[in-house]
Structures are given as C-alpha cells and as structure tokens.
Subunit: 169 residues, 2 copies
C-alpha cells in the first residue's frame, strides 16, 4: 500500500496544483478568507457580527427597511436577518414596527445609538473597501463582477440544465 508510482510529496503537490484551478474550491476559500478579514475588522472596531454590520449599513444608507428588502440587498437569506434583529433591538441599535402598508412586514429602523455604532464601525469598513479599490482598477472590478455574474448564473441554473449535454455524448 505504500507502493505508489509517485512519492507522497509529489502526489500531494500535484493534487494541490490541480485544485488551484478548481474555480469552485477557489471561490469558496477566497470568500471564507474574506469573511475572516471582515470579522477581524469588525472585532477591532467593536463587537458587531457580519450580519449586524450589514443591517446597520443598509439601514444607514437606505432605511427604514423590511427583512426581505435587506435580505435582497445583501443577497442573503431572510432567516439570518430575522435572527439578528431581536439581538440588535436589545442592544438598542434598531427598532422594529409593523409596516402599515403590509401588516406581515416588520419595518426596521436605526436608533440614534445604532447610528453612532454604524458611524464608528464604518471608519474601518470603508477603509477596507478603499484598500480593495487600490488593489483592483475599475476595469478589473468590472471584469471580476462579470465573471462572478456568469458563475452565479451557472450554479443557479436548474440541475438538469447543467448536465444536459451528458445525455449527448
């Protein structure tokens, strides 16, 4: 069983080189590393979770908002936001009221305290975005976004559509 055509280090290295070109794995790892960066930065500015930061940011930019609206803006699931809201209400960052326009909907709004927390935290988070802007040109961002759009279209297509040419060998 220890009798292989390549010694271990070469097999492992070869496998790694191969996986370096696996877009699925690469995107996953990059995204998770990005999450860790965000968490560290949020930690350095206070104690907000990523979801809490996103809620504050959306409300500051476009509030008041419903859970569904924020989920759409953030491209996340409403369940995550629903879970964060009571915590943020207790911390005094936001208030929630029943929307008069649609009584199923909760309307979430920044408090003065929430606005302060947003302002303080946005120092480090906008610095993050500014630093990224110095890394990629406008054109490179456009290219990147375009590629991501197409990747997303691929992974979100119905299952059979992705395999359809398998039926045509």
């Amino acid at each position: 069983m220890t009798n292989h055509t390549k010694p271990r280090p070469d097999r492992v290295k070869a496998r790694q080189l191969e996986q370096n070109r696996n877009l699925f794995g690469r995107l996953s790892a990059a995204s998770l590393a990005s999450r860790v960066q965000a968490q560290r930065m949020l930690k350095s500015a206070g104690d907000l979770s990523i979801t809490e930061w996103r809620v504050l940011w959306d409300l500051a930019e476009a509030g008041p908002l419903t859970v569904t609206e924020m989920a759409a803006i953030q491209r996340t699931d409403h369940a995550l936001i629903s879970r964060a809201i009571p915590v943020m209400v207790r911390k005094g960052y936001v208030t929630t009221t029943i929307s008069q326009a649609d009584r199923r909907a909760s309307l979430i709004e920044l408090t003065d305290h929430g606005r302060e927390v947003f302002t303080r935290t946005s120092v480090v988070m906008s610095a993050r975005r500014a630093a990224l802007s110095r890394t990629f040109s406008e054109e490179e961002v456009n290219t990147f976004i375009g590629l991501i759009d197409r990747f997303e279209a691929f992974v979100e297509a119905p299952l059979t559509e992705n395999l359809k040419t398998e039926a045509t060998p």
Copy 2:
C-alpha cells in the same frame, strides 16, 4: 419617519445596484450558491456531505493522505476533516492508520467500498466540472483565477497593512 427624499422602491433598488459592485458581498453570495449546487448534486448521487466528497476525491486521486495534507489540498481547516473522518470510517469509506513516518499523523486511505462510492458520485461531479468548462474558456478561467489570487492576497494580508494609507490622508 416615512418622509424621505426617495420613495422606498427607489431607495432599495439604488442600494441593491450599489451592492452589486461590492466584491466582498458578491463573492460570498456566489460561493454560497455554488455550495448549494454541490450539495444538491451530491444529494442526487447519494448522501455525501461536501467534506466527505472532497475527502473521497482527494484519496482517489492522491491517497493515502494525512488530515493536514487534505486540508492543504482543499484549502480548508483540518478541524473539518478531522470531524468527517470517524463518520466516514463508520460508513466504511475509509480506513485510518497511524503513520509510521510520523506517529502524530493519521494516514487515511480509501476502502473498496469508498472507491465505489467515489466512482458513482464522480459521475455527477465531473459532469458539473465539464459543464462549467463549457461556460468559461481557458483564458477566462486564467483571468478568474488570477483575480481570485489577488483578492485572496488582499484579504489575507495583515490588518494594519490594509489600512496603512489611512494614516496618510
């Protein structure tokens, strides 16, 4: 409080358009959608988790391997793999032995049954990769990987390095 400069739908739409160009959010959403696609495909082929599939694939391609080697190949944390191994041993997919070369290390190896499960599952997973290859040219993949490399370098840089120009207004 309902008195705003833009009506709600316009504010929400504007906020969404803005976030469409946020690389952090876009990568996260694309990666998570990719994960859902993988999970669905694995479900359609059997009942492997993503980590289990990755372990089988690595072992089939380059096994036997240690936990750390697989974590490096997959760009994931050893903890995830450590957790999956006992489950996979119980399911009969892999065996684990203490490495003679380093008695701290566990050497993980495919069983015949594991090889079968790999083979059956790889039908749908390689179809997935083939379908993605029809979506992006070789050159586009190179561009994509290059952009991801640079993004990863950015998010993995030490915190102060990313904010350094903040001290130079």
